[in-house]
Amino acid sequence: MINAILVFNNHGKPRLVRFYQHLAEEVQQQIIRETFHLVLKRDDHICNFLECGSLFGGSDYKLIYRHYATLYFVFCVDSSESELGILDLIQVFVETLDKCFENVCELDLIFHMDKVHHILQEVVIGGMVLETNMNEIVAQVEAQSKLEKAEGGLSAAPSRAVSAVKNINLPEIPRNINIGDINIKVPNLSQFM
């Protein structure tokens, strides 16, 4: 079982938080902070597994993470999951994001947290792995986006117009913020499937 999936950036700002057991918000933030500090200390060339002690409430839990450019993807799993399998799963998840967002970068995750959740829900539900085949995941995500578009989407025409008005002359358009190299580089996928 997967106990939690956390995505945060190099400064510990959460970008996706998904706990599969109920925890109060303060506890969640505490865990995110502590996980961040645990992961931050480790440079990129050491192993991706980490015993997290009683951080998540059980000694059985283990952190498995990957670091891509500015983002950390951390899965907290118990002993029933294969460590290498989860590593591959993270890779599948990131590649799926890459496909769905077309060259995913941190900003995509920042501004489309809901969409990221919807993609994640096609990979893992209730702490159990639902699908590991990327094509299948992408197909389901796209089918649902199509359905959403057919319904007119959340921000239907009028409010979109408003958005456009709002953006006129406003200097702070996030795409222009200098974030440096934010593209997540997807290294070669290790053979899994």
């Binding site: 460590e83 809901d114 159990m128 639902l130 996030p174």
Partner: protein
Amino acid sequence: MALKMVKGSIDRMFDKNLQDLVRGIRNHKEDEAKYISQCIDEIKQELKQDNIAVKANAVCKLTYLQMLGYDISWAAFNIIEVMSASKFTFKRIGYLAASQCFHEGTDVIMLTTNQIRKDLSSPNQYDTGVALTGLSCFVTPDLARDLANDIMTLMSHTKPYIRKKAVLIMYKVFLKYPESLRPAFPRLKEKLEDPDPGVQSAAVNVICELARRNPKNYLSLAPLFFKLMTSSTNNWVLIKIIKLFGALTPLEPRLGKKLIEPLTNLIHSTSAMSLLYECVNTVIAVLISLSSGMPNHSASIQLCVQKLRILIEDSDQNLKYLGLLAMSKILKTHPKSVQSHKDLILQCLDDKDESIRLRALDLLYGMVSKKNLMEIVKKLMIHVDKAEGTTYRDELLTKIIDICSQSNYQYITNFEWYISILVELTRLEGTRHGHLIAAQMLDVAIRVKAIRKFAVSQMAMLLDNAHLIASNTQRNGICEVLYAAAWICGEFSEHLEEANQTLEAMLRPKVTTLPGHIQAVYVQNMVKLYASILQQKERSGEKEGAQEITQLMIERLPQFVQSADLEVQERASCILQLIKYIQKLQIKEVPVAEEVIALFAGELNPVAPKAQKKVPVPEGLDLDAWINEPPSDSESEDEKPKTIFHDEEQRHSRHRQPEIDEEELARRREARKQEQANNPFYIKSSPSPQKRYQDTPGVEHIPVVQIDLSVPLKVPGMPMSDQYVKLEEERRHKQKLEKDKKKKKQKKEKRGKHHRHNSLHTESEEDIAPAHHVDIITEEMPENALPSDEDDKDPNDPYKALDIDLDKPLADSEKLPVQRHRNVETLKSPDSEAPLVEKKSKKPKKKEKKHKEKEREKGKKKEKEKKVVEEEEEKKKSSKHKKKKHKKEKDEKSKDKKKSKKKSHHSEEETTESVQNGTLDDEPLPPMSSYRLLAENPYIKMTYDIQGNLQNDSQVTVSVIFENKSTSFLKSMELNVLDSLNTKMLRPEGSSVHDGIPVPFQLPPGISNEAQFVFTLQSIVMAQKLKGTLSFIVKNDEGSTHEKLDFKLHFSCASYLITTPCYSDAFAKLLESGDLHMSSIKVDGISISFQHLLAKICFHHHFSVVERVDSCASMYSRSIQGHHVCLLVKKGENSVSIDGKCNDSTLLSNLLDEMKETLSKC
């Protein structure tokens, strides 16, 4: 500036979407919290709007804020609203928010049951999918129970996308509602062979998760999994199955034997490291479970160890880590095969990766031997010095202690070395494990007698340098060692060489800054020291020295008497008085040392930690029985004051007469000794066999030790354990030489025979003779201690409930609850004897009623809690209903009937029930029945009653009693109604609105029986009538005819009310709230008593009495949709006036009209 203002005003004019919110937060880095609280206010405004798109947008933003750590549970109800939107876009947002913030404690969650059920059966697979996903995160025991059947149905859905989700969610359902496991298991098993690989994988996943917790129940599935393992090509599935086998093999060794071969094949053939690794792991599990010794097993072990070595040597740190992890599993059963890779593991200790170092440490634990212990620990000590993080250093520290102390110090050959290691460890900064070191020091000093002299000298050094240890507040943890040091120096003070110096060290003012429990030990042990110094001085005739030391104590002890710690204070003041007394005696030149030392005579033996628990309770001893009957209160009050004064006087007189001491004390001591000798729990100071070693020349004649002792003692702060390592090597070398000499001699004597043996001989562990001949005292256990294993299982383990035998056939009672029409009893054969049937049909009815009653009770409790929330919701709902439902038309349909002779019976039952409901107490009430006539003809009579369904706000249950009035046999009864827009009969899935519902029984002549039908309705504010028909076949000697009976089913408003108790304060609040509409009626010509009147209202209209004062009463009830209805009933001379208040005025006026009708009949 201007821009900002413009932007601000636009922001206020239009709703932000998620992107705007994120952007806003990013632009307000310096006052983020303020900005967000402003946003939350806006969101609250948006949530109040009717437009669902606006609400969904608001909920979407809340989900983002939740991620940032803001509690959004206050919006739970709005989230439910968005969940129930018809558009997929909004629904998805709602479910996402729910999955992030709902949990078992969310009270509104019970409102979602129907919505989720609706979504699960939606024709759109993505609606279903979204509902399933959401449910997986917030399923509660209630939801699991209510929806288990729906989800189980989805496991056979046509779309694999839904099937796999449903299969996975069943696991969550099992956890919350274990009763569902057995009924659902056959279908789950079926899914293992689903044509879709995704579904198959999901089923494997769920069963593995189940089997991991309770493997024995799943052994019967092993053949199926074995087949899957050999046929599947999906690595993910294979890994899960192989992991599952790892859990099953310990229970069934035969399975293990079968597995070895295919697993070995996989190990050789696969290119996926993840699969290879899991195979190795499972092979290890198999090997552990099998009895070793068979030759091909050692081959398997070799294969595993080889593969693991390849992993460990890999440059990929992940593989290295996992290799070490798996290696530690082999270590437990096959330490030899791992020990040969010691080089590799020691190398890993130097790895830059902490996780890997920790794993390597774990392995080291199992790899030490007498031979390499010192070397390994030396290496670890170097790491301790180098370690940066305190966690890793603490880990190292515990590992060192674990390694050394394992199996009763089996591998330690030189305890002086160990003590010096412990002393060195005290120099660690900021460790949390001071108590661990302290415990080791105590344990070694107590149990290894030969080491006491050395230990005491080291501890004295520690005490002398206490300021180093205790000065830094950060090093708090480490000051625990002073506890051990003080105790050891005190208890074994006879070994102390410079006791004076140690005593002074213990009396330093700095000591008072130590934690209380350590000071307390200091105080106690300085007396022991004092006693032994005193003895020494007296023996050597140094009277002045003795008096000086007493004076020192008297001067320094007061600092402890002032301690804030109670324990320290008490001990110190007690001892101070004792020493003052000693001083008096000293002045009189009375020798006191022997007396003082007698205070601490006797040896403390180590007692096993669980010894006390293991003392068996003697036969016939009842620990709960009174030893003396407790005295009555009056007695004790009389006695007490007297005895107190009496006692005190006695004490004073004793104080003034110390002369008796000498002889008296001796006598008492003798008596006490006698007593102790007879006391089985007192640990006697009998000379233990270990003592002898001290005198044997074995210890003394080893020269190395003595040289060594004096050197490091005087130089505190210098690591000395290294010297031991060197010395040890030399010593071993010498021993070896000596042995070789002997052997040579032997060889000369006996040539030939032993020649080959000797040449093969390598230095084995047995050859290493310990430096000290040491005997470790085992911890004491009481005689005939009970062997027992203490590890009690955790009673709160959520997986324990899933320990269910799955192979037993399914019983009827275990079927999952399904929403359907209930029938009380099914008559199977048309010719069964009437009286028998009658009895049968009665019993279950009663039971059922009781059951319902219970449910209602439960519901009531819940409702009270949920009231506030629901209130809000209902307001909204009812307003919606009004809009939608004004166009409603009422159609009617027909029903069928049968007869009942038992009407009177029923009414009696009902009466008792109404009284039980607790609405009224005194006066017996006239019999009442809530069953009303539905329709009647010569063949059949139907009576009915309508009851609201607590669990479901839009359902009522109609119970119909069919009574056969004829002499014919009635069968094939079918009841049908013409649904209206508002009210519909719940038909089984797949049947059309024109289909009737068969009555699930037949009626022999003169028999009656009851069936229940569920109706769903939308609005409940008005009474409704449905037309219906009951069709049936009449069968008698002349043949059979088809008959029909039309009826009108009247749903009064009262039938939507549920008797709900209400406390008067809650009632008052409700009335004050001002949300209620008011209306009143007056009925004249009432002759019955007020008591009966209230009973009638309670019974027929489902009210409960809140308060009753004389001829005035307040009453309360709730509708199934949560409307509150409050009544004030006043009785005049011949009339009754009723004032009512309710959330909905239409409902209220309809209710009052109905009440008027009831009352006017009185």
